[in-house]
Symmetry: C2
Subunit: 301 residues, 2 copies
């Protein structure tokens, strides 16, 4: 599971900072998470294939998370994409995009399937044979969801030498990987644990931005492998959190700690801070494994 | 008159190229011409004040000329702009922006005044005491106008030594600058040309993008000081001009020649060309003073 940070700063622009967008690669699938202005240039810069992106998840409809979407769509049409594109986001996102397509007289070369969200409870919105994606309702000035990506448990690992020792037929392998014992031709039963090893622990990633401090998400993201939690401010600007519905780096650390996260990734930094080190130091007062998101950085989950 | 090129490439994105946008500074006024995605970052990079921009002219509603507008507007609101912003562009531009403002639940801190255009004939759309701006109807796949900026003739230059020699009252200075002769207290008439010198010749700038080769614009832009004319292709791709409604560098040169332009600025390059030198060489086969637009370049008109 790999994360490419395309942009991780809050709305107020700086020449050297991009608004929120990131690419999550998981089990050979490529997901785009949020799409601030300039995302398509960042994808080019970091040589990430446009065509591989089939699902885009938008947390909320503030411009710094969504204004790059129409440009990305237009360019994929220029590149003559044919495959469906799925876009998940708050109710209103379809109108936002369709109006722009109509007024700019664009004729898209591919279909877009919008999945508009309005529930305030967590729901599974994507599922395939390897993973699920569920919404993590957040508390911001506008309807907002984080997204939780969870790998499904992989099949048990076949111990090939053991399996061959007992001369088990290949057609039984899948059952054994699924956890069944093997029954030999002579009636002997071989316990599954003799034939298989534990698979790797399923990984998970929670993308939580933008939000006011919301400890009730902890239960849903418990034991998450990687947690991206916004930290617009540091504690010196705690008083700004309530009116703007943002969090501090310390609060992000507290969520990571309560959730027993493997790793905390900070981002959505306010441009009032000259450097990022203060965010890391502050979160580390409550949680050990803190990584700063930075434009262009690749992070292993 | 000074031109800052923020972006000058056609739609297909490259990591190192920006779509169309430029800033024209003329008589202390700052105009933004087109606003492709990423324009606000380019303004930051080249340290151009957002607040000084009071009038934005959009040629047409293709994304590579307008997708940066909503982000620019949002940021100015974040910066708490109060002054009116005037936006000139094709019919539909108001809906394009207002829908995005509504769906992103933005509350702008300043009023936008839209000036929607639909006439297919040239019209003066802006006028103040120093200059006029008129539309230059172009021929593209969608309704498109170029814009012609024309300084008004400046008042004649007062020759202070001469004026003081005749002891002319200060209250008459404006009349003299306007071209009147002076009548002295004793009845003598002093010819204006003894008291004044010619003012500098008024300058003009025509921004013509995107368009198929359209020689009938020549009459309107005759003797223009600076002409920006799109050159998406070179002659090797002449066959692409008709279906896409674009021009070659040579055609841009021909327009500059027929119009007796002072200077030709090329731009809107297709990303199929690795370097830009071929555009210049080709235009120079028909016109002498050719400048290549390049992202970040400043050009004196």
């Amino acid at each position: 599971m790999k994360l490419n940070i395309l942009g991780c700063f809050s709305a107020s622009p700086r020449a050297d900072a991009h608004p929120t967008s990131q690419v999550l690669t998981i089990k050979n699938r490529t997901f785009l998470l949020d799409c601030g202005e300039g995302t398509q240039r960042q994808l080019r810069r970091y040589k990430i294939s446009f065509a591989k992106i089939k699902h885009i998840f938008i947390t909320h409809l503030h411009g710094d998370h969504v204004y790059g979407l129409i440009g990305f769509i237009s360019t994929m049409s220029l590149l003559k994409r044919k495959k469906d594109l799925h876009i998940y986001g708050p109710k209103g996102i379809e109108e936002l995009i369709r109006v722009q397509i109509r007024i700019t007289e664009s004729h898209l070369s591919f279909p877009i399937i919008f999945h508009e969200l309005s529930s305030k409870k967590p729901q599974i919105i994507y599922e395939d044979n390897r993973l699920t994606v569920e919404t993590v309702p957040l508390n911001h000035r506008i309807y907002t969801n984080g997204y939780l990506f969870k790998e499904k448990p992989a099949p048990r690992k076949l111990l090939i030498e053991e399996v061959e020792k007992y001369d088990i037929e290949v057609s039984f392998y899948n059952n054994i990987k699924a956890g069944q014992d093997a029954v030999l031709a002579d009636g002997r039963v071989i316990a599954n644990k003799k034939l298989t090893a534990d698979p790797p622990t399923p990984k998970s990633y929670a993308f939580c931005t933008d939000t006011f401090y919301k400890p009730d998400i902890v239960e849903q993201i418990k034991n998450v492998t990687g947690l991206y939690h916004e930290s617009t401010f540091q504690e010196d600007n705690l008083h700004r959190c309530k009116p703007t519905k943002h969090s501090t780096a310390k609060q992000a650390g507290l969520i990571a700690k309560k959730a027993n996260a493997g790793k905390l990734i900070l981002g959505h930094y306010s441009s009032r801070y000259e450097t990022l080190t203060g965010f890391k130091t502050e979160a580390e007062t409550v949680f050990d494994n803190v990584v700063l998101a930075e434009d262009g950085k690749t992070i292993d989950i």
